[in-house]
Amino acid sequence: MSEKTIAQINEDLLRPVLQTTRRFWIAMLFLGSIVAAAVGAFLYQVWNGIGVWGINRPVFWAFDITNFVFWIGISHAGTLISAILRIANATWRRPVTRCAEVITVFALMIGGIFPIIHLGRPWLFFWMVPYPSERQIWPQLRSPLAWDFFAIGTYLSGSLIFLSYPMIPDLALVRDKVTGWRKKLYTVLALGWRGTPKQWHRLETGMHIMAVVIIPVAVSVHTIVSWDFAMAPVPMWHSTIFGPYFVAGAIFSGIAGLIIAMAFLRKVLGLEEYLLPIHFDYLGKLLLMMCLIWAYFVFSERLTVWYGNESAEMAVFWSTQRGAFAPMFWTMVFCNFIIPFPLLAIKRIRNTITGVVIASWAIVVGMWLERFLIIVPSLSHKYLPYAFGSYRPTWVEITILVGSNAAMGLLYILFSKFVPIIAIWELKVGSHKPVFVRKQVTVIRESGGTDPIAAEPGLLTTDI
């Protein structure tokens, strides 16, 4: 990238924002109609009662909470990875961070909808909110669902800040390039950014603080999601391993989601010269590590249950290993380990983008199955055999699942229409070799070194 001039970078990365192709409208129409169908399915459910879902007694949760955990897991793609790479000062991260952070925000929004729409009376969801009501009742703070509410709220607001903060210089760049109503819009969004050394300094400090703060928040969120299960005395839910197991699974599926999104952007927006094979190689290595960690967790969980041989847990265990849920379980193992492991471990395959993307698709499917297999087999085999049950989804649940995926695509494409999906200013920082820096405008950078951009008058202002 070092051979790219600043003008070229601007040209390449602003093109998706400034030009609207027919392909964009077709994608909007296609994804939008799927989302509309899902909204329709939800309204149908509200009108008739949640009985239009396939849930029953004892399987009171199924697709709804599977989707919830799955999307919260995908959300760990962004903020967490981007924050870790920022702190580790991995310079290759520069073109990757924003597409990752966007996934976090949208996946959290989509995931956060599921606990609301899965309610028997979704119109009363606001009773989860602590507000001074005339009845003087607060949410029950001993409930893991109340913890969820606060954890996801915190993570969503943190991620929004983490995403929007480094967007400011790029929004200012767009502001300076456009005219008409867009000028007005981006003038507001750019928050008066002029690119003074003081502003750069504040941006860097802010990002440093947020990168450190967001990591424990991200870890706690998925731990708390796991506690929705681990706190209940249900066979194979009530387990101490669930916190780290869920966090590892979340990062695993999150990286896979990020790789898929990057491959998509690369093709559709013509970013072949920005999202390079080396990025897929590095993320593939991370994915390989998470693949091994995930397999290790599954093995430890299964082995301890099997060895413990407790009757209620064994009913769940055998239903997944060789009973009704076995086909799904072994598909999951296939998707999460047997396919991706060789693809990611063999360097020649990992260096091809296709290999990493195939592994990622398998992992996304496998991780959805994993969430389903945590929830449904346990609920259908609770202690008393007389009350065992089974589950089959209806078209309403399937439509909502497909709709949530379409919503992710829709929001992602819309976002890349309004904001440069690759952080332009970060790329420019990376594309300049350190040069002589005048002392009075020195800006402390995350590397602890001096800021090369401060020496470039052209970069201080945004009208280049």
Partner: protein, 231 residues
Amino acid sequence: MARKWGMVVDLDRCTGCEACVVACRAENNVPTVGEDQAARGRAIHWIRVERYWEGEFPDVRLKFRPILCQQCDSAPCEPTCPTYASHHTSEGLNAQIYNRCIGTRYCANACPYSVRFFNFYNPVWDKPFHLQLNPDVSVREVGVMEKCTFCVQRIQAAEIQADAEKRGLKDGEFNPACVQTCPPKAMVFGDLNDPESEVARLARSNRATKLLGELGTKPNVTYFEAESWEE
């Protein structure tokens, strides 16, 4: 001392006739969901008679076990509810406050006994059953969890009557519908905090067991295991 309601079920006496199930439905306005929904696992029975076959053919034995809410002292359903709809009363009942329920169904997942029931649709009573609704019991709407209350309306009525007459409650003065109906008198209901009551006396018996007691839920329903005296 505050009252603490409890029950003893003698499985040796239970014949599996399901009169308790019918009585409970009539008393508590328990909705009938219909064949299709029942086949999908949405039937509502605040009390059910579980039927277990033991042994290998031809040496098989049939055992019945009426299962209702165990009114646990340490109930997993209570802390899991984010809106306080599942609530422990001062008399030891696991109350469900229908108006406060938003339908997360978490309580039903957490309950090891599977005795919490969800209204997947608004309940309907085919004619003429709509004429036999009990006016003392509220009807539950769609999206709300419901469960056995130990016939709290009868408890309330008896307590109010006793207070009005400025006297204490007599043991056996009233009973939940299931206990009242049980032909072989397999069930006994009363105040566990009154050491003289029959239920307290039976609960101290060495035949007394708790269903899934190892989970630490501290149920207030005690079972006398079938034929446990033979072993």
